[in-house]
Symmetry: C2
Subunit: 414 residues, 2 copies
């Protein structure tokens, strides 16, 4: 028996309905913020992802040569494609450009709980300015999305990569070593960061200050201890978020997100329900367009791990109620099947979801099938009732039956 | 500058909004028919598609070996994955199973008008029975979908592969030659079919009857000339379609759809606006599950070429009106920016799509930007009005301005 490829999933109807529902919630929130959806191809030139993330990414990519001998790769994320598209086709549009996207991404890694080789991301990018207003807007959008999904327990932590970068530069760390150290600090691997810093001649005091800085965690008030431009910047972001009514955010200067291309504010959201692999969202401000052959343009954005956040909601016991169908039409005998088709078509034309037996079931079995497809009402078409242009409507939750004129049926069910 | 891969597309916001709108129309129709959405992976084991379509398909597949040395392929269509999923996970569910899907498919072929290497299909499968009721249901769904999109000029043509197969068998054509001849007949390549038939010893009269049969085209009335089981079957399908109010269908026994695995009814829809490449939908009844290791189960289904049908609508001049955003909030001075953030958040929380300048524009330029993002209303936040807890609402189409209390604003804009 042929199976789906390892690390991928099939979505059966119940699960798919739930996923489309929450996808719709996220899309609606993005649209109320004035973001507009875009879509890019499932695969890109592999070079695009190497430019963004370095050649190490090749180990995780589904990369292959196409018949034209081009090295292409299934997208591992959608920020690079979105900025590639901006550089190709949107660079002259009025700024800011506010875009969002939803779709599959691919990483060749060991499948584990909540991590798949084919996974879904919902992301947003705001292209055009490097200012606290833009960063606050993007954080507010992420916060509103998570809230709208109904997830109860989550933390959004905001940091600024500039504070640490400045501190490292002041301590004499050369630029080419910064990324390596930030990666260690991001994972709180102080034991591994320390010998590298010592080798670079960073003093005991400076090392301690660097480690302390990554421990600056708490409500907005901890910002009062943060000096310099980055401190001022984050205070402005915090003030705007306050004005926007976004309260569920903390400061954490230990958020550095490891990636080279972030330039200022960075943030993450976690759902404790997920245990060790608890990150559900990550983002920050960056520039990428110049890497892809465009002009330098400042951007800020984030991606939500759609599978992860749905798993967190499931672990919190948030239930989704399946819609079922509105009506199931049952002819009481074969003589009235033709009329039953007419009725089911009339309901469908009016936008009332409805179904009818196609397996030649007799009435009792058809009633059972109506229940298994979650029908709210069963419309029983009988010869006698039909002669009076009426049908019997049975409410499947109460069991009540009512005689309704066919001409009134759509109004009755709407 | 890095470009998108050849034969793929980026969808910018205006185009994406239009696509999502029509995708929603199709989804809504499928749901009113009691079909439920499923999703399968973007790639499958290449074997799946070879089993369905023969090894020739490899020439068109994006196939590659993954790091685990498995031969995988980007899906060229979604019927095989849907039936693979049915065999793996749904074979014990009550029948019929009514599923639909929407997503990207991939074919390595020369890109041309309306044909892309990454293209979108909307499809439906009804799994469980081989009867006129099931086939009529699937044709009615396809017809309702095309109608709901608003396409004006299209033809749905229904045939039956059994009629021709029977005729060929009666004329002495061996089973292993049937597929080749059906492919020629499907493309009306009589000149190529004739020598093969002559080689097989098919008589002049029998050849003429075969060719005449593929020319049986017209309204439902032409069915009266079609003998045998297939004729009875199609008459039943036609009668049910009549009861369901589906009128925009013709009979065309020349529709044979070339593919081996169809077992009975076959149908196609064409949009003349597209010229030579005018097919927008194709389907029919088939069995595939036994090829993938399951039991034999009869199915019927179809796929709509989403890109093609949108192109046909465009060629017919069907316009889609972009939604724009509901409101754009403009602070009259920097002193009231904070209050403006509060107002924009209040509107978004109420589901009113709204935006605000993030580029430091002064009032006149912000008004211009509001117009470029298609705002219906502009909310001007002025110091004086604010002291009376009010704002000025400007209607962007009429230019009328009204003073509205902030506490009334959501109701006023809803």
């Amino acid at each position: 028996m042929i199976q789906k490829p390892r690390g991928t999933r099939d979505f059966l109807p119940d699960e798919m309905e739930r996923r489309r529902h929450y996808e719709g919630v996220l899309r609606h929130v993005a649209e109320t913020f004035g973001f507009r959806e875009i879509a890019t191809p499932i695969f890109e030139e592999a070079e695009l992802f190497i430019l963004r993330s370095g050649s190490n990414i090749l180990n995780e990519l589904y990369a292959f040569r196409d018949k034209g001998d081009r090295e292409i790769a299934l997208r591992p994320e959608m920020t690079a494609p979105a900025i590639r598209m901006f550089v190709n086709s949107m660079s002259n549009e009025p700024k800011p450009i506010k875009m969002f996207y939803f779709g599959q991404c691919f990483r060749y890694e060991r499948p584990q709980s909540g991590r798949y080789r084919e996974f879904y991301q919902f992301g947003a990018e705001l292209i055009g300015n490097k200012n606290p207003e833009s960063d606050a807007e993007i954080i507010a959008l992420a916060a509103s999305m998570i809230k709208a999904l109904g997830l109860r327990d989550y933390r959004i932590r905001i940091g600024h990569i500039g504070v640490l970068r400045q501190k490292l530069a002041d301590a004499g760390v050369p630029k080419e070593k910064t990324a390596e150290i930030l990666q260690k600090l991001d994972k709180k691997l102080y034991d591994e960061a320390e010998p590298i810093l010592i080798d670079l001649g960073v003093s005991d005091l400076a090392r301690q200050e660097i480690f302390d800085l990554t421990g600056t965690v708490g409500g907005m008030e901890v910002l009062s201890n943060v000096p310099g431009e980055a401190g001022d910047y984050l205070r402005s972001v915090a003030e705007i978020l306050g004005r926007m009514g976004v309260r569920d955010v903390d400061i954490d200067l230990g958020v550095v997100r490891g990636l080279d291309y972030y330039t200022g504010m960075v943030f993450e959201a976690e759902a404790p329900a997920l245990g060790a692999e608890k990150q559900i969202c990550g983002g920050g401000s960056y520039t990428l367009s110049e890497l892809f052959g465009g002009e330098q343009v400042f951007s800020t954005g984030f991606a939500i791990g759609f599978d992860r956040i749905l798993l967190a909601m499931e672990k919190e016991g948030i239930e989704y109620g399946l819609r079922g169908i509105d009506a199931y039409v049952v002819p009481a005998s074969d003589a009235v099947r033709g009329e039953a088709y007419g009725i089911v078509s009339m309901l469908r034309d009016s936008g009332i979801s409805s179904d009818m037996d196609l397996m030649g079931r007799k009435m009792a079995k058809a009633m059972k099938h109506a229940s298994s497809v979650g029908a709210g009402k069963v419309i029983i078409v009988g010869e006698k009732e039909l002669s009076e242009r009426s049908v019997t409507v049975r409410d499947m939750s109460s069991g009540d039956q009512t005689l309704i004129r066919i001409s009134e049926l759509v109004r009755y069910l709407s």
